[in-house]
Subunit: 129 residues, 2 copies
Amino acid sequence: MKQAIYNIGVEDTMRIIGGKWKPIILCHLKHGIMRTGELRRAIPNITQKMLTQQLRELEDDGIINRKVYSQIPPKVEYSLTDYGESLNKILEDLCVWGEKDIERRKQKGENIILLNKEDVSADPLPYAD
Amino acid sequence: MKQAIYNIGVEDTMRIIGGKWKPIILCHLKHGIMRTGELRRAIPNITQKMLTQQLRELEDDGIINRKVYSQIPPKVEYSLTDYGESLNKILEDLCVWGEKDIERRKQKGENIILLNKEDVSADPLPYAD
DNA sequence: TACAGTAGGTACTAAAAAGTACCTGTAAAA
DNA sequence: TTTTACAGGTACTTTTTAGTACCTACTGTA
């Protein structure tokens, strides 16, 4: 049995939600159930390999559920577990802070683009203009 | 001028506070001003090189202040900028979630150790027994 | 005099993370 | 009949991140 030693709690949190793809995957899943292909399309640039790999790790850590339908072609749904939902507020805060930071940097003249704002993508307000 | 493109805000946040050492450094600095040596002692295992490197990046991103006293031997103090303070709640949440997660895993029989709990280390309650 | 403490820097190496390319197998659509 | 979509897997390579070792320069202490 291998032992894990942490100095402070944030190390464990980052082990679980850190990395290039996990926070992105989780920020999508906090809106609800998604199929593999939906996730792949929602996260441009992620490869099938990285997507599967990260999903497996999140599953192993008890953060997400993997529901496999025994049918052909295959259908697999991913969603946050109840425990994973306890990360929702943190994930939301991380998204919002980043959106504001990007806005701030833009104002400073940095050439930086944000494709999907959290709330905009969730609620496009089609008639607002 | 190089361009940065993000799909969702959390990518930018993680660019700034992610990695092995940055969240740890920030979780220490949110308690107040610290000198280089204090940080090095507070974060066992970090090397001088990584500490300096991460501090420079955080400084470049406007998260921390670096105050150099022109004296010998040198004295340098690090602290969160006002902007950096806007991360305090997130950092606190990340620490607390991790502490609870470690507790949860311990209960499940995992061999896992947390050396410094956020509140305990900040307020040792010397007469409480 | 030799060493510890102060706060770094730099070149090189090791390890971890991510990416590329190519594979499975079935069903439905072009 | 070939292609696409579905949800993967695996071997290998590249990139990124982190670590090691050794350097500066000055002061105070043993």
